[in-house]
Each structure stands twice: as C-alpha cells, then as structure tokens.
C-alpha cells in the first residue's frame, strides 16, 4: 500500500516526462501505421529486430549496470584498461566484433562447448546469438549512460543512507539506482536503438537469416539489391523514426541529470 502510493507520487511528479514519452511513442507508431497504409512494410524482419533489440536491452542493462559499478570501484586493478576494453566496441569494425564472438562463443570455443552440454544447442547462427551480437555494440553506450546516472547521485544521499543503517546493497537498490534512474533508462533506450540497427556483428555471428528471416537492417540491403526499393525505403524510414525517437528521449533524460548543460 505504502509502496503503491509512493509509486503513484512518483508518477504524478513525472507526468510531464511521461506525457513526452507517450507523445513520442504515439508519433513513432503513427508513422509506422502511415507507412503501413501506403503499401505496407514487410513485418517479419521488423518484428524480429524489435524482439532482438528488446532482449538485448534487458541483457545490456543488467550486465552494463553491474559492469559500471565494477568500473566505478576505485580499487579495481587496471581500471582504466578495463574501461577502455569495455568501450572499444564503439570504435572497432563490427566484423571484428563478430570474429571475436565466433572465437569466444562459437562451437569450437570452451564457452560454446559448455553451452552445448548444458542447454543442448549452440549460440552461433541462432536467435540467442543475434541478441548477443547486437548487445556487443550496445554495451558501451549503456555503460556510459548508466555511469553518468550513477555519478550524478550526490554522495550526501548515500552517506545519509549509511548512517541510517543501510548496508551497501540496500543503499544501491533504494538510493543510488532510483536516483540514477534517468541515466539507466536513457542507457536502455540508447542500447535498444543501437541493437535495433546492428548489422555487421549479427551478420557475422548469427548469419543473414535467423530461422529464415533477416533482421530489419539486413532486410534493407536485401530489398535494395533485390529491386524492391520501395520496401527498402519504408524499412529505412521506420528505423530512422524509431532511432530519432529513442535518442530524443534519451537526450531529455540525460539533460535532466545535468540541468545546466545546454
């Protein structure tokens, strides 16, 4: 009851932001509906990409938040080096990421073999593999955004919580994470947008077809070279609108944490 009323308080306080979120979502859905009414887009690739991006967002948020906390730990050995390794997917060619994925998670790798013996299948050339491949590119964006969020939490709040008897985990989950929420949510959105558009690593590790269906970004090329330019255009347009919407909301959230930033 208490928690429910507190949640209601939060929602009321954030109604402006929630309205903005809803309007953006409505515009994105409106545009997709309009494109659909103008001759239709091919839904399977889009649906596949949305599923991959959604799962990748969940995966990168969990892994990324844990990784960020680790990277913010001042006594971590070789912290700057680990930080650089976490960020390197931003600058590496996607093919190199795909290559590393095959080497580390493929059928010949230790992880691949362990996965096979536990779950009885493989990761490479599967939907799960596509989620992992898409997550590789998203992870650095998520880590950066979550980090801005966590660093924006004033130490006086965590100190106050500690003097009120809260241990490290309780401080993290009840004070740090809720106060860093704009950064974490922005990270999720950036990660989603990045995963939605992944091409190279997915192609390399999960192949051009997952259960016979290409992802949206692969489909754009297939349509274009298959002389279906209208469909390539529609798919590109829908992905652009989703991307702009996500980045717009993520920027809004990031600016909330630094109200003085232009």
């Amino acid at each position: 009851m208490e928690r429910a009323s507190s949640l209601l308080d939060s929602l009321r306080a954030e109604r402006g932001e929630i309205a903005r979120f809803a309007i953006t979502l409505a515009i994105v859905i409106g545009v997709i509906a309009y494109v659909q009414s103008q001759g239709g887009i091919v839904w399977e690739p889009m649906a596949l990409s949305l599923r991959i991006a959604l799962l990748s967002m969940v995966l990168t948020l969990v892994v990324g938040t844990a990784l960020t906390v680790l990277l913010m730990w001042k006594r971590l050995p070789a912290r700057d080096l680990l930080d650089a390794i976490t960020s390197v997917p931003l600058v590496l060619p996607p093919t190199v990421l795909g290559y590393y994925l095959i080497v580390s998670l493929g059928t010949e790798s230790a992880v691949g073999r362990a996965w096979q013996s536990v779950f009885g299948g493989q990761l490479i050339f599967t939907f799960k593999g596509a989620v992992i491949a898409a997550s590789m590119g998203s992870l650095p964006l998520v880590v950066r955004s979550v980090r801005i969020g966590l660093e924006s939490v004033d130490a006086s709040y965590t100190n106050a919580a500690r003097t009120l008897g809260a241990g490290p985990l309780r401080v993290f989950f009840t004070i740090v994470l809720p106060l860093a929420a704009p950064g974490v949510i922005a990270g999720g959105m950036l990660g989603f947008a990045r995963a939605l558009g992944d091409y190279g690593a997915t192609m390399f590790f999960a192949s051009s077809r997952i259960d016979g269906v290409p992802t949206a970004s692969i489909a754009v090329m297939d349509f274009f070279y298959g002389n279906h330019e209208a469909q390539a255009r529609q798919m590109s347009f829908v992905m652009t609108v989703v991307g702009v919407g996500m980045l717009y909301l993520a920027n809004r959230l990031t600016r909330r944490m630094h109200p003085n930033r232009a």
């Binding site: 009323s5 004033d154 709040y157 003097t163 009120l164 008897g165």
Partner: protein
C-alpha cells in the same frame, strides 16, 4: 583521533557525555571532519572511537565498525533528505529495527512530534527550509540512535526559525538522553544549547568546558 587533510592534521581527543556538546571553530578547522570520523564516513590514520563499552574504531587493534552498524544519527549540513521519497518514507528508512507493520505509525508520530505531521505524504522539494530541518530531525530520531551528530543543520535559516529549532533540539535532547554532538558557528546557538563547548582551531582543541567558561567575553568567532 588523527586524520590528515591537506592543510593540517586533525588531532583531537573528545569525551562527550549525555547532553549536547557544541563544537565550534573557524571554517576549515576540522569540525565536520570530527563528525565524519565519529560516524565512520572518514577513516583517520590513527585513533580510537568508542561509545560507552562499544569500540567503533581502534586503528591499533584493527577494529573499524562499518557506518551502517554504528547506531548513530547524522543530520548533514545540506540535510540530504532523499528526494525520491516522501517525508514518511524518509523517516521510515532508518527504522529497520522496528517491525514493518509498526513503522508507518511510528514515523508519523515522530513527524508529529517535531511539528510536521502534515507533510507526511509530500516530497522534500516542496518543503520550506524550516520544514526540511524538522523532517531531517525526525529521520535522525527514527533510528533510536545512541549518538546524534548535527552538522550546522540550522545555518541556512533565519533567526526566528533558528530559535524555534534550537528550542526543539533542546527538548529532544532531554527525551533522548544520549550524547549529541552539534557543530555550529553561532555563539547564540551554542549558549542556548550546549552542556559542553569544545572549541577547535586548525585541527586541535583550544578550549573546552561549560558555555559560560569557554565563551566568556567572546562575541564573535574568527571565521
């Protein structure tokens, strides 16, 4: 305790009996650092902190009780009320030792006790300066502390509000019967509150005693 900052080494020995000990001194003299060391938020190079028979810190024997296990309350200069929780939840936060079912009623009673029961459902950003101070005091009491630390909590308030809150702290200290360490710049506040005054300068205790003795003839503190 001995704690090193960039300008000087903090080297003080303090005994705080039940009642209010006011720590006074110029800005940067180490007042807040003393509180941070007592709370465990800052670790001195050498030193010992004990409350009655409980040793919280003893560098020599390697004892350092973590902050959350020291039964104390700390009202910070900026108050640090949690912005994402209403007043009631702020107060309940320190009530882990109270059965869950009883927390809300006890927190409400504490807010009533300091005169802000009507704010229970409101968030800190809607509070006036005086209201925020009262909620922070209620939250400090919620922990049933064995030591209370107040770091210039009234510095941002006007004279009238300050007088009201000083009277409130005086009342609360009688109910609590635990040591209260209050850092302040205000001589008037110290005269009204202190059972004991400790003056520090450049990290050392320069005077200690009853208000009348320590503040005799003092009208301003070099700040």
């Amino acid at each position: 305790m001995l704690s090193r900052s960039s300008e000087f080494a903090l080297d003080v020995e303090l005994t705080c009996p039940h009642g209010i000990t006011c720590i006074m001194g110029p800005s940067g003299s180490g007042k807040s650092t003393i509180l941070a060391v007592l709370a465990g938020l800052q670790a001195p190079d050498k030193g010992r902190v004990a409350l009655g028979n409980q040793v919280w810190l003893d560098r020599a024997s390697g004892i350092d009780v973590p902050v959350h296990k020291r039964r104390l309350s700390y009202v910070f200069q900026g108050l640090a009320l949690f912005p994402h929780m209403n007043a009631l939840h702020n107060v309940e936060y320190g009530m882990q030792h109270v059965p869950r079912m009883e927390r809300a009623a006890k927190a409400k009673a504490l807010l009533d006790r300091v005169g802000v029961g009507h704010l229970a459902r409101r968030r800190p950003r809607t509070f006036s300066g005086g209201e925020a101070q009262r909620v922070a005091l209620a939250r400090a009491l919620a922990r049933s502390p064995e030591l209370v630390l107040l770091d210039e909590p009234f510095s941002a308030l006007d004279r009238e509000l300050r007088a009201q809150l000083v009277a409130l702290v005086r009342d609360l200290s009688k109910d609590l019967a635990v040591p209260i360490v209050h850092v302040t710049h205000s001589i008037a506040e110290a005269r009204q509150l202190a059972d004991q005054i400790v003056r520090v300068d450049k990290g050392r205790v320069v005077a200690r005693g009853k208000a009348d003795e320590v503040l005799a003839g003092v009208t301003t503190l070099e700040e």
